[in-house]
């Protein structure tokens, strides 16, 4: 029995009625009443009508995702605690949910943990978990001289600065000449320049920020 759940109102938004009913029965065991909404389009109006203390939200509604709504609710209902209970357990999905300030619970753990977690959210004792795993892949674009350049563009720029031709750059970075040409075109666009000479001059002026030619970033 979770004392912080007693007498509180919860809204369960899940398009699978049987599952939502299961959650409702579980909460009722803790003297907590819950409304159910099964349509994504009706969630916001139901929140307005029922003014719940907590929203339990699924992420999949047929072919639609509730992630955009989650972002929206962060702005429109900043005080409403949201617990996402989802079958999408991929790490990146969990991270995207937690970035909105909502708590995440895997559906497979719902039976065991939902009352505990909902109770903690309602009495304010819930603490969001710190990110435990560093992101394996890299994602990098940098501002150089006030211009945002992707890692690939920076790599091409650094080699062009050394005087390499497009085919030589392609050979060096293991991509096709066509790709390098496209990258050079994009560099012209972003820097607002018209010739390779101007680009190389710009790169020389920003050599320190660009970094060494072969350091891979």
């Amino acid at each position: 029995m979770s004392p912080s759940l007693a007498g509180r109102r919860v809204l369960i938004a899940d398009d699978h009625r049987l599952f939502a009913e299961g959650l409702r029965a579980l909460l009722r065991d803790h003297d907590c009443e819950a409304e159910i909404v099964t349509e994504l389009a009706l969630i916001e109006t139901t929140i307005a009508a029922t003014e719940p203390d907590l929203l339990i939200l699924d992420l999949s509604f047929g072919t639609e995702s509730a992630l955009p709504l989650l972002h929206q609710l962060r702005d429109t209902q900043p005080a409403l605690p949201i617990l996402v209970v989802s079958a999408s357990e991929e790490r990146v999905v969990v991270e995207r949910v937690q970035e909105t300030g909502a708590a995440y619970l895997a559906k497979s753990r719902a039976g065991a943990d939902v009352a505990l977690l909902a109770g903690a959210m309602l009495d304010g004792s819930y603490r969001a978990p710190a990110a435990t795993r560093p992101r394996a892949p890299t994602r990098a674009s940098r501002q150089i001289g006030g211009v945002k350049l992707s890692r690939a563009l920076i790599q091409v720029l650094k080699l062009a600065r050394l005087g390499l031709s497009n085919p030589d750059i392609a050979e060096q970075i293991g991509r096709t000449v066509k790709t390098v040409e496209a990258h050079m075109g994009e560099i012209y666009n972003r820097l607002g320049l018209k010739s390779r000479g101007q680009v190389i001059r710009w790169a020389n002026e920003h050599a320190r920020e660009l970094g060494a030619p072969l350091d891979g970033s």
């Binding site: 899940d14 699978h16 009913e21 559906k107 719902a110 892949p137």
Partner: protein
């Protein structure tokens, strides 16, 4: 005499033209057919996955909750384990991340879940414009297939996935450090995986090239225009 030779040349030219147009037609039909099979297969997988993921599995989850409420914790855990098995099956049929996340996030999930101790998959992706589902699916499946090939056939230990968008074209490169192979000409691509990668690119009006040399790794390079052909 001159007339007969002239007529024969014209006849040969007409015959040649007719034969090559039949050949062209056949190739076009084969490409169209392959594309339809691929689309139908994807659609079927997606619908079975959805049936499992959104139908059966939550029903088993609710059964598990019911069992727990009745005090049957062990039975409840067994039902949960069954639901998890079905979820794994569903994810194998259709990557659910594509339904929720932009392609950069879905690829991040794919690359990090494929990375293991002796097999590193890195991803380099910048901000991409929002893509429609067919483009997200094509990027995801091409990357997945290339990673699988590198792992299974090339004995690679390192893979780089690079994604850019330039002038309305998605530029996707998957490069491995495996043992490489001699790439057969297009018409002789026996591997279903390699063929399906190319089919996916061409279905979106794009191209896919495979460059490889023995002992020198393999590079799969797809260019996908983001405005589909009409």
């Amino acid at each position: 005499m001159v007339l007969t030779v002239g007529l024969s040349v014209v006849m040969v030219l007409i015959l040649f033209w007719a034969l090559s147009s039949v050949q062209r037609e056949r190739t076009r039909a084969a490409v169209g057919w392959g594309r339809r099979v691929l689309e139908a297969q994807e659609e079927e997988r997606r619908s079975i996955a959805r049936e499992l993921h959104d139908g059966f599995v939550p029903s088993i989850d609710s059964l598990s909750i019911e069992l727990r409420r009745m005090g049957g914790t062990a039975s409840s855990e067994r039902a949960t384990a069954l639901a998890q098995q079905l979820r794994t099956l569903s994810r194998g049929l259709h990557p659910g991340v594509l339904d929720h996340l932009p392609i950069a996030d879905a690829l991040e999930q794919l690359c990090s879940s494929e990375s293991t101790d002796g097999f590193v998959v890195t991803l380099d992706v910048d901000e991409l414009p929002p893509l429609d589902f067919p483009h997200r699916l094509a990027c995801y499946r091409i990357t997945q297939e290339a990673i699988n090939n590198a792992r299974r056939h090339a004995g690679a230990s390192r893979i780089e996935v690079l994604v850019d968008e330039i002038n309305g074209t998605i530029d996707l490169t998957i490069r491995d450090n495996g043992r490489g192979f001699v790439v057969p000409p297009d018409s002789k691509l026996a591997s279903l995986g390699l063929r399906s990668m190319r089919e996916r690119a061409s279905a979106l009006g794009g191209t896919l090239t495979i460059t490889s040399a023995l002992q020198d790794g393999t590079t799969v390079h797809a260019r996908l225009p983001t405005s589909s052909p009409g």
